[in-house]
Symmetry: C2
Subunit: 112 residues, 2 copies
Amino acid sequence: MPTTTAVRELPHPAREEIRLEAVLHALADPVRLRIVTELSTHGEGEDNGATCSQVELPVSASTATHHFRVLREAGVINQCYRGTAKINCLRRTDLDTRFPGLLDAVLHAAAS
Amino acid sequence: MPTTTAVRELPHPAREEIRLEAVLHALADPVRLRIVTELSTHGEGEDNGATCSQVELPVSASTATHHFRVLREAGVINQCYRGTAKINCLRRTDLDTRFPGLLDAVLHAAAS
């Protein structure tokens, strides 16, 4: 008999609720830029995401959790639970639709 | 006989000192986005710039001064004195060289 799992969903802004100022603020930090750069190498969708611990960061786990949360609340990343781990994905399609060219320009600048 | 004028110069980062995080932070504010959007309609160079009071903002003069300073210190705008007025110009060439496509993407997003 299958067991039922309580799905814990984290709050995310809908695409049309994503605000430019919030996205720019979320990206205006070297640790968060590193997270976004790392996630940009993964595809979209839960199956392609990365757990928080898969993204190597020079900060404590609790600080990393904070940075992932800022990115999620701004609409830059999607976070969902798989068991106890959070899977993180860049919201590339949403961002490219809302703010064409912005994410690519930031990723390019961060890499240079 | 010509009078000599003491030139007051304000500190600006050189082009190669402009940091992505600082630019994103400077742009992550609705008042500063409004300043940048307004200055984007002017050409570069002192003769094409706008005084602080020419940019209509919904804040006090001292708050406006603060926002212009954040933009200058991040390398987003150039400020120079003409008499007692500060002339503000967008550092479009410097920004486009350092971070190709970023300013246009932000201006486009801010206008939409």
